[in-house]
């Protein structure tokens, strides 16, 4: 419930702030659709990456609890996985920042 409220509030904040970022002469429909796309894009990226990282961490914790001697190898594998997943989230953030603040299609 709390997570849902947080997602809704952050989406509203993003949509509200985005108007300031765009030039006033841009088409309002384009602005609103871009804002919506940005919010949805970041939300989907965060959700996917969060699920992926959570699953990876869960499996690593279980593996370490079952076999503490293998914790070194598990840590390396987990680090590699987490870094790859997180870079996807960073890419999504870059694209969303471009769409929101430096959109090349808005002149």
């Amino acid at each position: 419930m709390r997570k849902g409220i947080m997602v809704v509030l952050s989406t509203i904040a993003m949509v509200a702030v985005s108007g300031v970022a765009f030039a006033a002469d841009a088409d309002p429909a384009v602005i609103s659709m871009t804002s919506l796309a940005t919010a949805l894009g970041m939300a989907l990226a965060a959700a996917g990456c969060g699920i992926g990282q959570g699953l990876g961490l869960k499996a690593a914790c279980e593996g370490t609890a079952r076999n503490p001697e293998a914790s070194g190898k598990i840590t390396v594998t987990m680090l590699v996985g987490l870094a790859m997943i997180e870079s996807l989230a960073i890419y999504a953030l870059v694209i969303n920042l471009i769409l929101l603040f430096a959109n090349p299609f808005l002149g």
């Binding site: 690593a60 370490t64 590699v80 870094a83 870079s87 890419y91 870059v94 920042l97 430096a102």
Partner: protein, 143 residues
């Protein structure tokens, strides 16, 4: 055993002193730092274009992120000292700072996005090379 260079040995010692006890993690972070240092050779290109600066900024950002992630992961697995709250605060502070840095680079500095992404992708290149090396090593061991 392969002899290490002065620079890599120095980075290794620094990482060991800062809590990187697992050798493979240390190797990964060390390789990432070396890759970032390698991007400094692009600096003379700044006289002609601005994109080398974006590559460098992306590489630095990726390396700082990777370093912090490696530290947090080791802290989570081998939590013996300090609190979880501090670890979590560091994790979220890093994410926030990454967001702010990207905002400044893209919006204020108008950096080349492709160059920025190339710099950020150095982490992936490092991991893929490490993975390929590990895979080839395993295959050779089996043969």
């Amino acid at each position: 055993m392969r002899k290490k260079g002065k620079l890599t040995a120095g980075i290794d010692r620094y990482l060991f002193r800062h809590g990187f006890r697992i050798e493979e993690v240390r190797t990964l972070v060390r390789n990432q730092i070396c890759l970032t240092l390698l991007t400094f050779i692009l600096i003379p290109g700044l006289y002609l274009w601005t994109w080398p600066l974006a590559v460098l900024a992306g590489a630095l950002l990726g390396t700082v992120n990777f370093y912090a992630l490696a530290k947090v992961v080791q802290g989570v697995i081998f939590l013996r000292q300090g609190s979880v709250q501090l670890l979590l605060f560091g994790f979220y502070a890093r994410l926030g700072l990454t967001g702010i840095a990207l905002y400044i680079l893209i919006v204020w500095c108008r950096s080349s996005v492709v160059a920025l992404l190339v710099g950020l992708s150095l982490v992936l290149v490092n991991i893929l090379v490490y993975g390929a090396k590990y895979f080839v090593g395993q295959k050779l061991k089996e043969a």
